[in-house]
Amino acid sequence: MFAEFLQYLLSGITVGAIYALAGLGFAIIYNSSHVINFAQGEFIMIGGMATSSLVAAGLPMWAAVLLAVLITMLVGVALEYFAVKPARNADVVTIIIITIGASIFLRGMAQIIWDKESHSLPAFSGETPIHLMGATIVPQSLWVIGVSFLAILVLGWFFNRTLFGKAMLATAYNRLAAQLMGIRVKRVLTASFGMSAILGAIGGIVVTPITYTNYEAGVMLGLKGFSAAVLGGLGNGMGAVVGGLIVGVAESLGAGYISSAYKDAIAFVIILFVLFFMPSGLFGKRGTERV
């Protein structure tokens, strides 16, 4: 009984870590522009696909990973430059629709550059399962959890300890005042797309050995990441992480105990339920405002 539960929990945390990274990606872009970037899932897909093809081309794993992260980051920056920036005077809703268009475009490009097949990567440190109190976990799961945790720590350090990170937070909170401090808000927007793309790519790369990837793998991952961000309270980094883990664990438990056919539905139903009672999410804006 417990072993079974632990098994579901472990696989839930693994997939939840990816949702957390995607959710963070949504949060960062939302904070800097109030745009919900529906191409976030495509960053995950590009990260996995690019690494897979670079490894197939003969590059060592570490080089393929670095290059794939770089490529994805450039795609993110290009998305901001070519699709979002030209529409900067448009409604936020218009820009959101533009990102949906961009996600379709990126999927199409992925089909042309690569193909419609599933692609994989060798596991980073073997396939021998680790046994843990009756449950088993593949070493790659530990990579997923560890790398995601590290990425979240680095992100926390960036926003709390570096001046540019603080400038990004300041811009998110009050764009006008940020401009008056001499912060280049356009640069903040570009950086937010680059960083979100990096987060997506990292998630996509570490999870590919477990789940495989293909040109449309980003659709569902992006939606789950969005759900994670909304569940945690849109724009709240900690919320996105917690939201991601909840969504991951909920769907894993649902798939295990109820039916794997309903696994996506279960996650979304929980989100609807939570939002019904807490419309701004679990960690939504708590006022520290005094005027």
Binding site: A177, R184, T288
Partner: protein, 234 residues
């Protein structure tokens, strides 16, 4: 003249907020611009900082035409603004707010400046690690002023620093402004509180619906019949 504005106009959509404003501020001067709500005071200051587009006219700073310059370049030239409503970064700590005030200076002696601000505004030192949003209105105003001073401005723009503050705090804020002037800071002060502003100003401008209607020394304006009627309620 440190700041020379001539024929400045600005629009919000079809509505013209500034209808050809001429203002000058000399080095070391404290110039006040007073007028009712909606006269275009905030629009003018935002135009000077480059965060509100201007449709015609020129802004010169230290002889250089800055009319089309990016906001961050103006901060680097030495124009700092304390915006209307304080606009501190609420979730960030008091100290981080000060650090961001020095954003354009790329780290040179920022810590020493923060110490200087704490000496000048001791309450900020007490609250240094608290989120700025938890400060009282008066404390936030001091933080906003200190934050602007962190950029080593050659010209300090103050937008309604007394707005929404209790009378005791208003007096405190104006005392701070006088101290800054005494230290040689050039200040362009925009206020609805005409009496307090003109009382400490070297020169004053009165604006109505986007136009300058009176220019004179602060004391002359305070004595002016029209000003007394319209703005001082006497």
């Amino acid at each position: 003249m440190l700041l020379e504005i001539s024929g400045l106009t600005s629009h919000y959509g079809r509505i013209q907020a500034l209808k050809g404003i001429d203002v000058t501020v000399g080095e070391g001067e404290l110039v006040a611009l007073v007028g009712a709500n909606g006269a275009g005071k905030t629009t003018l200051l935002r135009g000077i900082s480059g965060v509100q587009p201007v449709s015609a006219g020129t802004i010169r700073f230290d002889g250089q035409d800055i009319t089309r310059m990016a906001p961050e370049a103006r901060v680097q030239l030495g124009i700092a603004q304390v915006p209307e409503g304080r606009q501190v970064f609420g979730p960030l700590s008091v100290e981080d707010n000060l650090r961001l005030g020095a954003y354009c200076r790329h780290g040179t002696d920022v810590e020493a400046d923060i110490k200087r601000m704490y000496a000048q505004f001791p309450i900020l030192k007490t609250k240094r690690n608290q989120p700025a949003g938890t400060l009282s209105g008066g404390q936030q105003q001091m933080l906003a002023v200190a934050r602007a001073l962190m950029s080593h401005p050659r010209l300090l723009l103050l937008d309604e620093p007394s707005m929404g503050l209790a009378p005791r705090l208003v007096a405190e804020i104006f005392r701070i402004i006088e101290t800054l002037k005494g230290e040689g800071t050039t200040i362009f002060l925009v206020e609805q509180n005409a009496y307090a502003a003109l009382a400490i100003a070297d020169r004053g401008y009165v604006v109505e619906t986007g136009q300058v209607v009176l220019v004179d020394s602060g004391t002359q304006l305070l004595a002016n019949e029209k000003v007394r009627e319209a703005y001082l309620g006497q």
